[in-house]
């Protein structure tokens, strides 16, 4: 199987987010960056499929030079190759732009791919857009938010999470799958993997080489402003005997919150 897996470099989820003075972006200085959490499930699934069926896994990221670090992590986890599409623009929150770059690269370099694996949503943009957009731009089926994936030959069955249930979906390859937590348990990098990853060459393809149309080069989203949400004003804290505490909760819900 020829599998491509897409990973994004994002701020550590524990980070405190500070906004730039112009209100158009976040302050990156002092932030620790990681591979977006759901993307690790996608990498793990790619590796498991290769281990079961043979083939090759290529990890691809669109972003600044710094994203090489997360591509090295993918190599250390065991992917065969990695490619960086170099895009120096700041976070645009626009999935279409990223999807167009990915679709163009896939068409040019990987016309014979079988499966494209993504995280269900990237931390930061929290969009859940890129996978379905890539699927549409390539004209192939999509299954998002997948918790179980079975591939037999050119056919696939995936279970995707919906409200209070799972949808069992059948599809044919090539296809786009996006990973939800629960799909697998991502492995750790091995020391051997880390050493090998250090030596590996990672090709860097400038965005300009992808010959994207004007429409896809400029984001269709205009950031008016980015701000920190208003702090919630602290509530009341009580410490009472259990029975009194229970009474107070119910009284609060009825009289103050007007819920019951």
């Amino acid at each position: 199987m020829n599998i491509l897996v897409f990973v994004k470099r994002v701020p550590d989820t524990e980070s405190k987010i500070r906004i730039q003075a112009d209100g158009k972006g976040i302050v990156e200085e002092g932030l620790n960056f990681i591979i977006s959490p759901y993307d690790e499930y996608a990498v793990e699934e790619a590796l498991r499929l290769r281990e079961a069926k043979g083939g090759k896994v290529t990890a691809i990221s669109v972003g600044k030079e710094e994203a090489l670090l997360i591509l090295r992590k993918c190599l250390a986890m065991g992917v065969d190759e990695a490619i960086l599409i170099k895009d120096t623009a700041p976070e645009s929150f626009d999935g279409l732009k990223t999807a167009a770059a990915i679709a163009s690269l896939v068409k040019k370099r990987f016309p014979d791919f079988d499966l494209l694996l993504f995280g269900k949503q990237s931390f930061g943009a929290d969009n859940a857009q890129v996978p379905a957009m890539v699927a549409e731009l390539l004209g192939i089926p999509q299954v998002n938010v997948v918790v179980k994936l079975i591939i037999e030959g050119q056919e696939g069955v995936a279970f995707r999470e919906i409200e209070g249930a799972q949808e069992k979906v059948v599809f044919s390859l090539p296809a786009v799958i996006s990973a939800q937590k629960g799909l697998n348990e991502p492995r750790y990098e091995t020391l051997k993997g880390i050493m090998a990853a250090k030596k590996k060459e990672i090709p860097v393809i400038p965005l300009e080489e992808l010959e994207l149309s004007e429409l896809f080069l400029n984001p269709g989203i205009e950031v008016i402003k980015l701000e920190t949400p208003p702090a919630k004003k602290a509530g009341r804290i009580i410490q009472l005997a259990p029975e009194e505490a229970a009474k107070e909760i119910v009284r609060f819900l009825r009289e103050e919150a007007k819920i019951l």
Binding site: T13, E14, K16, G164, L226, P242
Partner: protein
């Protein structure tokens, strides 16, 4: 026109789609336009609720093919309708289906998409959207430069309209559309919906979420929360990641950054410390009540009512008090 996609599950139109329609009709009024609904199904069903939420027209893409979901087939047919109607904007509820279908459709129409919006305004005749980013640690206000403007609306945020019967326009136009040529590409198809036992309501759709964390200590103690849930209408049981990772309850119940984002009217947190990742999923709940034995627990920083105490001692009394209150 603002066109709103109405999601049907088990023959019923979803409440979150009605919320999106209600918001569309409010913003359409402000723009001097009208809201319209699009239903894709073999049966139209409940048109009166669409009327009550402000739809002036209903476009009904009729066909049995729509009774099971396929993103490719849905997007194909919707895009044909949109090319014909040329709406100003297209709204979806940010449900599992809405978040799957809208980016596919957006790419087909070559437009950008505002995902999971929590506020919509009109400025200088244009729609402006607000949405949480960085798991709610920042708020993004944005405008879309592409047309039609496309957005998904977070469930449980936008209020339904309460219009009196006599104020409703008498007629609502229903426009039946033949489906426009079959989709010729490869399509993914839902062949079965596997329900989780005992989970009628998803945490994202519940009006009250009753969550437990590591403080619940064991899987069977989640029954205490299920018993509370049985008393409270439209409630569901949630959990922290610590509880899910301990195997006490399924992942679909997890609230937080790697779980679900909820904004119920009431969030009850039992034995949850309030890590930043957990808060990411629930801090926009309308009212938060936390029960924790540690007075320093960070969850108290976002709680409207914080109760310092042992949850195992409080829950039995709470059950009794709730029964009394709800019986009145």
């Amino acid at each position: 026109m603002i066109l709103v996609f109405m999601e049907k599950r088990e023959g019923k139109i979803k409440k979150s789609s009605l919320e999106a329609l209600a918001e569309a009709s409010r913003r359409a009024e402000e723009l001097g336009q009208e809201a319209a609904a699009v239903v894709m199904a073999s049966e139209l069903g409940d048109e009166s609720s669409l009327k009550a939420q402000g739809a002036r027209k209903i476009y009904w893409l009729k066909g049995e093919i729509f009774d099971s979901y396929s993103p490719e087939i849905y997007a194909h047919n919707l895009s044909e309708l949109i090319k014909e109607l040329k709406p100003e904007a297209v709204f979806f509820a940010a449900t599992a289906m809405g978040r799957d279908l809208s980016p596919r459709l957006a790419a087909k129409l070559c437009v950008s998409l505002a995902s999971d919006c929590t506020q919509i305004m009109v400025f200088d005749g244009a729609l402006v959207f607000v949405r949480p980013v960085y798991a709610g640690k920042a708020l993004l206000t944005l405008k879309l430069k592409t047309k039609p403007v496309m957005a998904t609306l977070r469930p449980n945020i936008f209020p339904l309209r309460e219009i009196k019967q006599e104020e409703l326009p008498s007629a609502i136009e229903i426009i039946e559309k033949e489906i426009s040529g079959a989709y010729s590409g490869a399509a993914a198809r839902v062949v079965e919906i596997v329900k989780e036992e005992g989970a009628e309501l998803d945490v994202t759709e519940a009006e009250v979420v009753i969550s437990g964390g590591r403080g619940m200590k064991a899987a069977e103690n989640f029954n205490l929360l299920r018993e509370l849930s049985a008393l409270i209408p439209r409630s569901a049981v949630g959990a922290s990641r610590a509880a899910v990772d301990s195997g006490w309850i399924g992942h679909q119940h997890q609230v937080g950054q790697t779980g679900k984002t909820v904004c119920p009217n009431l969030y009850l947190a039992f034995g949850i410390s309030g890590s930043i990742q957990h808060l990411a999923g629930m801090s926009s709940s309308k009212v938060i009540v936390a029960i924790n034995k540690d007075p320093e627990a960070p969850i108290f920083k976002v709680a409207d009512l914080g109760v310092v105490g042992d949850l195992f001692q409080i829950i039995p009394h709470l059950k009794e008090e709730l029964k009394k209150a709800l019986a009145e």
